[in-house]
Structures are given as C-alpha cells and as structure tokens.
C-alpha cells in the first residue's frame, strides 16, 4: 500500500466509522480558543539571515577555549588528540545506528568489544556492557541491579557522590517502594565512617561511593567492601576513569559494580553532552547487567566473529521481566573513549593522570599561600580540590570572569552549608604560566 496522505473520501469514511460528521466534531472537546491559536513567531528569514542570527547567538557563549577555565565537577577539559575525531568521523561509525541485524555489523561489534575490554582492564572488574547514555543514568541502572539482586528495599548513598547523580537515582526510584538513604561527610569532605556503618543494615541492597568524590577527595575505602559484603549488600563505585591510571581500581577496592561518567576519556565538555556512561560488574552479576553486550565467538566456519551476547537479559526477549529498558548504547562516544585509550596506551593514561595530579597539587600549594583563601593541603586529591574563600565567592567569580578566568564551581549551589567554597579543577590543559596567572589574579581579589 502506498504511503500517501488521506483523500477527502478516506477522511469521511474514517470520521463516519467513529461516528462524527466532521473533523471539528471530532475535536469539539478542545476549547475553541485553543483550536487555532495565534502563534507569536517573527516572519521567516532567508538562509544567510538565519546563519547570521545563529552565529550571533553562538558568540554569546564563552567556551573553555576563550577563557582560562578551572571548571570541573563532573565535566572535564582534557586534550583530545585529533586522531580521535578523525576515526570516529568515518561514516561507517558516524552514521550507523544501533545494529539491529547486529551480526551483519562486525565492525561496530568489534569496536564495542574493544571498548568493553579496555573498560574491564581499567576498572579491574570482569564484564563491561556496551555503555549507557551518561554517568548519572549508568549509576542509576547500577542501583537498580543491587535492588533486584538482593531483593532488599534500600540504597545507601554517600552525600559526597555528585549531586546530579544522586538526583537521577532519586528520579529513577520515584514512584517505586524503594528508598534512598544518604550518609554525610566530615570536615575534610570525606565520607562519614561512623554514620555509614550505623546505617548499613539488613535493608540495604547497595552502597554507592564516589572516589575521587565530588569534592575531589580520594576516599579511603579500606575495609569498606568487607563490611558491605558481610552485610549481604553490594558495593557500587563511581570513579573518574582517568584517575584509575594512577589510583586503586574499583575492582581492587572490592566493588561489585563500577559505573560512572566516561567523558574524561576523549570526549569534549560540549555543554554537558553527549557523554558516556560506563558500566562494569563482577562475573557474578553478569546476568543482571542492563543494556547491550558484545561478545567474541566463532562463526559456522570456525572463524573469529563478534556477536551480541547474553541477550536473554534484554527486553526484546525477557519482555516485562527484563531488568532494564535500555536497548541501545552510546556507541560513538564509546568508540571515542576506545580510540582515546588506545592512543594513550597503559603508560599514557598513567602519565596523563600523573600530570593532572601534579598540576592540581602545584596550584593547591600556591593557593595555600594566599591570605584570603584556605585549602586543606593534607587531603589526597586527583585533579580537583576545594577552596574556601574569606570573601563572598560570587564577587570573586564576577571579578575573575571579567578577566577571562572561570575560577571554579560554587559548592553552595549543591551544599548550602558550604558557603563561599568552590571546587577548582586542574587538568593537563593548564600550563605553569596559566596556574601562576590564576594565583596572581586570586591574590588581587
């Protein structure tokens, strides 16, 4: 049957079938004033006029290329080798959608398989999925896995986990009988051990920690996984993946699931997305993993081939009993991460991580010398740290932004008790001159 618009006769027949005489009769329940509203839009523009308008609007943005940015808090500015965009820009990758006839897309499956392999190595866990949309949704999916696996009603989440992630988890669980309980942090911004142990009871399905946490602190998780395991709960760890070049992996900390934001692995900040959610678990949770999973197998002739595997988990087979509705992945971003990690190699990732730590530490030492600012120089960090200002931060921010410096993210927005404190991030993109200039500018505030 050709797909054409309706003829008058067909319309009449359809209206007759539902028992009305005209289209107006069909929509008579909609108030007359709403049926044909005046839409207040300017008259149309020509193409050059539109281009002009859009570039004018675009120029109102200040990007991290136009300014000296110390913004982090979940979205990080890193150098991305040109080869990353060159490779992911190939049309076979760029224009391909999720492989429906998956085994016919061997290249896409292989790229996913390589990404998964690298993520398992980086996180020290057994099985990675093909990725999620972003860190927040990936972490929320991880939370659901623990609730289903343990058949318990509660999640225990550190308040030092990214506020957006915690909000997403609450959104996921809204309208369900599941509960989210939080435990706080101490003066230094590290999770409160006593409160955590006190709240770890038989209702807890999963516990979520972030390290480096939202304040940039490397959490001391010694002895934590043992306690969680003894309680019959599961441990979820979210970590900046680049920090794992230097720090203990989620697997080494004894986590059951590593889930979080993959943006630092070769993806630009790009106004908050598209990003990449990574999701890696122990083998014991393999059949609880949400989303797609690429596997290595052999074809009928015994040749190496890639496939989508463990599909009985997924909604097209498991229907309403599937653990998750996720049936796609963030393939292009996962590929970018895969290419980025491959270009850097094991030693490269370690080196980048070291440079981040080194420069952040250098900046912190120098801010420590300023009389109007306080930092905690004894706290272990990766590439981000907390600064307390003796003056209103909004004023300082305004002053520095006028000089083309983004000083950091105000913490009061997320934690009202952390007045005039801000989060400063330093990556390999900042030179020593940049850092010295920033300290000088701060000194004048």
């Amino acid at each position: 049957m050709p797909y054409l618009s309706l003829t008058e006769e067909e319309k009449k027949a359809m209206l007759g079938q539902v028992g009305v005489r005209s289209f107006d009769d069909l929509i008579m329940d909609i108030p007359a004033s709403l049926r044909d509203p005046k839409i207040n839009l300017p008259s149309s523009l020509s193409e050059p006029e539109v281009q002009d308008l859009i570039s004018k609007l675009g120029r109102r943005n200040t990007t991290t290329r136009d300014a000296l940015s110390f913004l982090g808090a979940g979205s990080y500015e890193h150098f991305i080798p040109a080869a990353v965009f060159e490779i992911i820009g190939r049309q076979e990758f760029l224009t391909a959608y999720t492989p429906y006839q998956s085994e016919a897309s061997q290249g896409t499956l292989q790229a996913i398989y390589e990404y998964q392999s690298l993520m398992t190595e980086l996180t020290g866990l057994d099985v990675s999925n093909a990725s999620h949309y972003d860190g927040a949704t990936s972490l929320a999916e991880a939370a659901l896995v623990t609730l289903r696996h343990t058949d318990r009603p509660k999640l225990l989440v550190a308040r030092s986990v990214h506020p957006h992630y915690r909000e997403t988890i609450r959104t996921y669980l809204a309208g369900t009988p599941y509960k989210v309980e939080e435990f706080g942090f101490d003066e230094k911004g590290n999770f409160d051990r006593e409160e955590f142990f006190a709240k770890l009871n038989a209702d807890v399905a999963g516990v979520i920690f972030q390290t480096p946490n939202f304040f940039g602190n490397i959490e001391d998780l010694e002895g934590v996984s043992e306690k969680i395991r003894a309680n019959g709960s599961l441990m979820i760890l979210t970590a900046n993946p680049l920090s794992l070049g230097l720090l203990k992996s989620p697997g080494e900390w004894g986590a059951d699931i590593a889930a979080g934001e993959g943006q630092p692995l070769g993806l630009p900040m790009e106004f908050g997305g598209p990003y990449l959610g990574y999701f890696v678990t122990s083998k014991a949770l393999m059949r609880r993993i949400p989303g797609r999973l690429a596997g290595l197998t052999q074809d009928a002739d015994g040749k190496r081939a890639f496939c989508l595997t463990l599909q009985a988990r997924e909604q097209h087979i498991r229907r309403e009993r599937a653990g998750s509705n996720i049936c796609s992945n963030q393939a292009l971003c996962a590929l970018a991460a895969c290419v980025y990690m491959t270009l850097l190699g094991k030693n490269g990732i370690r080196e980048i991580a070291e440079i981040n730590w080194d420069r952040a530490t250098y900046l912190r030492q120098n801010i420590a010398k300023l009389k109007n600012f306080e930092v905690d120089s004894t706290q272990s960090i990766f590439n981000e740290f907390r600064v307390k200002s003796n003056k209103p931060f909004a004023k300082i921010e305004e002053k520095l932004m006028a000089q083309g410096i983004f000083p950091g993210v105000a913490l009061e927005r997320f934690y009202p008790e952390l007045k005039d404190q801000f989060l400063v991030c330093v990556t390999e993109t900042k030179s020593r001159e940049n850092l010295d200039w920033f300290v000088e500018a701060l000194a004048k505030c």
Binding site: D151, A312, I317
Partner: protein, 130 residues
C-alpha cells in the same frame, strides 16, 4: 518421548513428585527439547514462598528465557545447585539430575489439579508442531 508414570504434570510442562510433605520439581522431556540448550538457571531462594501457577524459576537457553511455574503452592526448601555449574543437566536428564527446586507443600489438595502422565501425553500430542 518419556513421561514417567510416577510423576504429575502441568500444562506449562513442569513435573512434580511428592515424598511426604516435600516435592521436587523440574521440566519435562518435551519442555527441555523446546527450550533447547540450557545455558543458565535462575534458582529460587531457600525459604521463598511460591504460589501454584506462579513463576518460581527462570531457565535460559541460547535463544530465550523461560519462566518455570510452581505446580503447587508452598515454600522453597532446596534448589539444585548443580545447575549453577552445569545447566545442561536439564537437557541431559530432565527427570533426575536436572531437577530444579524442592518445596514444602502448603496445600496438598492442589496435587489433585495436576495431570497424570497419560493426560499430559495427550496435551503434548495436541501441541502445535514447528
């Protein structure tokens, strides 16, 4: 196809055998052929309450996942741990080594609603061939 006389059967292709107040449950020869190669079995937890004709376990093959229903109501007293490392036991020996779970009957009268081997054989004969 083999449907032992001493077992009772459900329309959803489970078998059950009662000894005292406890009963063992598995899937029939016909079911294991339909399911094809079993790769994973999600076993019920000990102490879990199950209801007649409600889902109690999941058997996964390379092509699909199948719900396994409790033939009668009761409480799970044991599950076949051997299936965790060797799920193919369901294909190889559906009536003995491939049993799935054991339960304590809460309403033994429900046994009267189940089919004999002959009745089940009839059902299988009428099942669509594919």
């Amino acid at each position: 196809m083999d449907f032992p006389e001493n077992l009772r059967y459900t329309k959803t292709h489970e078998w059950i055998t009662v000894g005292g107040t406890k009963a063992k449950v598995g899937v029939t020869e016909y079911a294991q052929k339909e399911i094809s190669d079993v790769v994973f079995v999600e076993l019920p937890k000990q102490g879990q309450a199950v209801q007649q004709a409600k889902m109690a376990a999941v058997v996964e093959s390379v092509k699909a996942a199948f719900d396994i229903y409790a033939p009668v109501s009761g409480k799970i007293t044991d599950a076949n741990k051997a299936l965790e490392s060797n799920p193919a036991l369901i294909n190889q020996s559906p009536y003995t080594e491939g049993w799935i779970f054991e339960l304590e009957l809460s309403n033994p009268a429900e046994m009267n609603t189940l089919m004999t081997a002959a009745q089940y054989h009839e059902v299988v004969q009428q099942a669509p061939k594919h």
